[in-house]
């Protein structure tokens, strides 16, 4: 009997006291749950410790007075009518007067230059609107070819409000924007309010609902599947209930650690549940199959399965910790919460199981024999021709590795939006008509003169969407003398929040802005971003910063770091298990059996997503390795226990597959069912995470009951050549 068996055996002797202690611990973990935050900070998704991220932080700190921008897209059907345009102008003027709004950019602020021959200093859109006159004036302004952004077409117009940091940051996009839009909607136009701050707010609101929905649905599904798999309610309860304290405590621990719930880590509590249920299945099935008095059955079960369960917690924890190689804050939150959740979940699971087993365990009975027969048939068939199966496995591993290597890092922020949100579509329409809702800033080197700025602006205007570049050069063209910088009174026509970024009042740094969609919205938007960046740098710009730049480069860095974390988790997990079994020769077996399913699924994006490898999929692969190696541990440990000194490998394998193999088939079914709830998440990253995890688990099941037996039989003299 192991020390773990003895300890948990004692706990089983005082089940009520043990359950009360576990309940008290869970309650303690929930003391601060009221402080749990739901986070969608766009910077936490993409920023790291890279020079670009640092430059972005400096830029934001330098201009901290202005907060997020809200873009208001007003569209007519099929054209904007005069009453709709008048209502839109009313909204722009009201926003100018609203507290919390720092600046408003709208087509109504456009004016003809002071030196214009017929309309000096006149508004392009006059107070008395007439459709014919409006079209004529807009055409006249276009003919000036200033390059100034004209966010007005026959069909739509765009107003951008810069909000004070408090107004646009955590907590809310002011409801006032919605209220101000009411008269426009009443006039028959559609209004979409979007922008980085609005996107963050939409994500934050949906996160809380999604967390509760996933956790409740996952628990329910796991319970039903456990009951169907094990055949009795009491055994199902033994498999499910010990996992619940870990799931609940994980939510509480997030609050204690001050970790906000994000689009990535909101799946962790459910993950802790399904990992716990998988271990609960192993424990329950072993308990059901063990003969004797109850106390002896419990200690036997915990002695036989308990160490493997503890080891699985260690490997799962290592898998989560491996993602800490990235300095990305949101991914680190995922790794920390996952690792702590895995360990705490296991620490609560074993005592809870021991106590509940003492109260609920049914008498001995055969469980999972059909599933065991499936595993046995597959495994023994592979064991009969081990070299052929191992060769096929190695070939598949090489192919999958090459496929994984050839994927392209990809991380569209728009996928963070709940699928019920219309913002992504609104952002696309803004990108089509007016450049986009995000703003990149092209920064000139220190001491750059007017000529250098003009060259860079001209180069970028040649490849960017028309009217998407805001620069002093455009203002100089408007003023009538593009050869020199615009005079102060011309600059004063723009809000200070813009002009101080165009020409830094402290050090004179020159910049210009390019409105664009998020770069990884599509291949076309990525190509456009890359062309703009190349044009800017090629024309002498020092760098490109702003959210689009961070999204473009931060996402690539993030996926690369996560891929590295995956390899680290694989090597670390396999090494820990091999070391725990005092058998380093196990290392290649563990790596081959568990890397193959992960890399196979990792190369699936070539078939499903145009070769785009996203962070949620990479995270799922890392976690999948941690879970997959758990099943391998159960088979390998049972194999070695059955083999003993000088035992027959074929018989030992048969015993391991009959015992653990059946449970592994059942747990894979159960995990699939429980993780299937992620497919109903309103967040695409959560659904992608769940899908990749399920696919990995099935691939891992196949390698565990086919490739692993073949590897364990290598060198057996009874195996066929």
């Amino acid at each position: 009997m192991t020390a773990l068996g003895r300890l948990t055996g004692r706990l089983a002797g005082h089940p009520i006291l043990t359950l009360a202690a576990v309940t008290a611990l869970v309650a303690l973990s929930l003391v601060r749950v009221g402080t749990l935050a739901f986070d969608s900070d766009i910077n936490r998704v993409f920023l790291s410790d890279s020079p670009l991220s640092q430059a972005q932080r400096d830029f934001e700190a330098r201009f901290a007075g202005a907060g997020a921008e809200a873009a208001i897209l007003i569209e007519g059907d099929p054209r904007l009518t005069i009453p709709q345009i008048e209502a839109a102008r009313g909204l722009a003027l009201d926003l100018e007067l609203d507290p919390g709004v720092v600046a408003v950019a709208s087509p109504f602020a456009l004016r003809f230059p002071p030196g214009h021959p017929t309309r000096p200093d006149a508004p392009v859109i006059p107070p008395d609107l007439d459709q014919g006159e409006l079209s004529r004036r807009l055409a006249e302004f276009e003919a000036l070819e200033t390059g100034l952004p004209v966010t007005f077409t026959d069909r739509a117009l765009l107003i951008v409000a810069t909000l004070e940091p408090e107004a646009g940051g955590r907590g809310a996009i002011p409801d006032i924007l919605e209220a101000r839009a009411a008269p426009i909607r009443a006039a028959g136009a559609s209004v979409a309010i979007t922008g980085p701050g609005v996107v963050e707010d939409t994500i934050r609101t949906a996160l809380a609902r999604d967390l509760m929905r996933l956790d409740l649905a996952g628990t329910g599904l796991a319970a039903i599947l456990a009951w169907l798999s094990l055949g009795t309610v009491r055994l199902a309860a033994l498999a499910i209930l010990p996992a619940l304290p870990g799931m609940v405590a994980t939510i509480g621990i997030a609050a204690w650690l001050g970790l906000p719930i994000t689009v990535l880590n909101n799946v962790i509590p459910m993950l802790v549940l399904v990992i716990g249920v998988a271990n609960g299945m192993h424990l329950s099935v072993h308990l059901a199959r063990t003969e004797g008095v109850l106390s002896r059955r419990i200690t036997d079960t915990l002695s036989a399965v308990g160490p493997a369960s503890v080891l699985t917690a260690a490997t799962t924890g290592i898998a989560f910790l491996a993602v800490l190689v990235t300095p990305n804050a949101q991914v680190r939150d995922f790794g920390i919460l996952g690792a702590v959740g895995a360990v705490v979940g296991m620490a609560l699971l074993l005592p809870t199981f021991a106590a509940l087993a003492a109260l609920l365990a049914p008498g001995p009975r055969p469980v999972g024999t059909r599933a065991g027969r499936v595993a046995l048939a597959c495994g023994m068939a592979a064991a009969a021709r081990p070299r052929a199966w191992v060769a096929a496995g190695l070939l598949a591993l090489a192919g999958a590795g090459a496929g994984f290597w050839a994927t392209t890092p990809w991380f569209p922020y728009s996928s963070h939006l709940p699928e019920t949100s219309a913002l992504a579509a609104a952002n696309d329409r803004i990108a089509d008509g007016f450049g986009g809702v995000y703003r990149a800033w092209v920064e000139m080197p220190p001491g750059a003169d007017w000529g250098a700025l003009r060259d860079a602006v001209t180069a970028v205007e040649a490849v960017a969407t028309e009217h998407s570049v805001l620069s002093e050069v455009a203002l100089a063209r408007w003023h009538g003398d593009p050869g020199i910088a615009p005079p102060p009174d011309t600059l004063a026509r723009l809000p200070a929040t813009v002009t101080e970024r165009l020409r830094d009042p402290d050090d004179g740094t020159l910049r210009f802005a390019v409105a664009m969609p998020e770069p990884m919205r599509s291949e076309a938007t990525l190509a456009r971003y890359d062309a703009i960046e190349a044009a800017a740098l090629g024309a002498g710009a020092a760098r490109v910063i702003g959210l689009p730049a961070v999204m473009r480069h931060g996402s690539v860095e993030l996926v690369r770091q996560l891929s590295f974390g995956l390899l680290l988790a694989s090597a670390g997990g396999a090494l820990v298990v091999a070391a725990a079994r005092y058998n380093l020769r196990l290392l290649p077996t563990l790596l081959i059996v568990n890397l193959l399913p992960v890399l196979l699924v990792g190369s699936l994006p070539h078939l499903l997503q145009g070769g785009h490898l996203t962070p949620p999929v990479t995270l799922a692969l890392t976690v999948a390795f941690g879970i997959a190696i758990d099943d391998t541990i159960h088979i390998v440990i049972r194999f070695h226990r059955a083999l003993g000194p000088g035992g027959d490998r074929r018989n030992a394998l048969s015993e391991a597959l009959s015992g653990a193999g059946g449970v592994i088939v059942l747990t894979t079914l159960l995990l699939t069912g429980a993780m299937a709830v992620t497919l109903f998440s309103v967040f695409a990253p959560v659904a992608h995470f769940g899908l990749a995890l399920i696919a990995s688990l099935w691939a891992a099941l196949l390698t565990d009951i086919v490739l692993l037996p073949a590897l364990l039989m290598i060198g057996d003299r009874h195996a066929r050549p």
């Binding site: 102008r89 009313g90 722009a92 003027l93 009201d94 100018e96 007067l97 408003v104 950019a105 709208s106 109504f108 602020a109 004016r111 309309r119 200093d121 006149a122 508004p123 859109i125 006059p126 107070p127 008395d128 009174d489 026509r493 809000p495």
Partner: protein
């Protein structure tokens, strides 16, 4: 974009310089209309929000608020007090922070008629105006004309 801030804000304050209607001008007002910077300038759409308070002890109306034309907004700040001779006197703060100026007015029933002399400090253009402010229930109409040319400089209708 350049706005008719000086002339407009000055005339707005001056218009409030009525005798009897002053207490009724207290309260929150929202208005929209048109304004222009100089007689030769084009009209601009304008919106204003005023928070006027009546100080009964001093028989003084304090006028505070904010107006906006596309691309820019500016503050309105001033006060008007009724004198024993029934004339109204007060001050107005330049929205650009360039000091204050005195204003004087007189009421005629529900209407305030007013005139002031001023020059736009930026352009040097004469923006002297005559102003009427007509109170009708919960509606207030502000109308100012250039004194020399008679051109409408601002026409804004307020409601509570």
């Amino acid at each position: 974009m350049r706005v008719p801030s000086l002339a407009f804000a000055l005339s707005l304050l001056a218009a409030a310089a009525a005798a009897d209607p002053l207490p009724d001008m207290a309260g929150d007002w929202s208005g929209s209309g048109v304004a222009r910077r100089a007689p030769s300038s084009p009209d601009e759409a304008v919106r204003c929000r005023l928070q006027n308070t009546w100080e009964a002890d001093n028989a003084r109306l304090r006028v505070r608020g904010r107006c906006a034309v596309p691309g820019r907004s500016f503050d309105i700040d001033g006060a008007l007090a009724r004198r024993p001779d029934d004339r109204l006197r007060g001050f107005w703060s330049d929205p650009e922070g360039r000091g204050q100026t005195s204003v004087v007015g007189r009421s005629e029933g529900d209407r305030v008629a007013f005139a002031f002399s001023a020059t736009d400090p930026d352009t040097g253009i004469d923006v002297s105006q005559t102003v009427t402010w007509t109170l009708s229930g919960d509606t207030l109409r502000f109308l100012s004309r250039h004194r020399a040319e008679g051109t409408v400089m601002a026409d804004i209708r307020f409601t509570r």
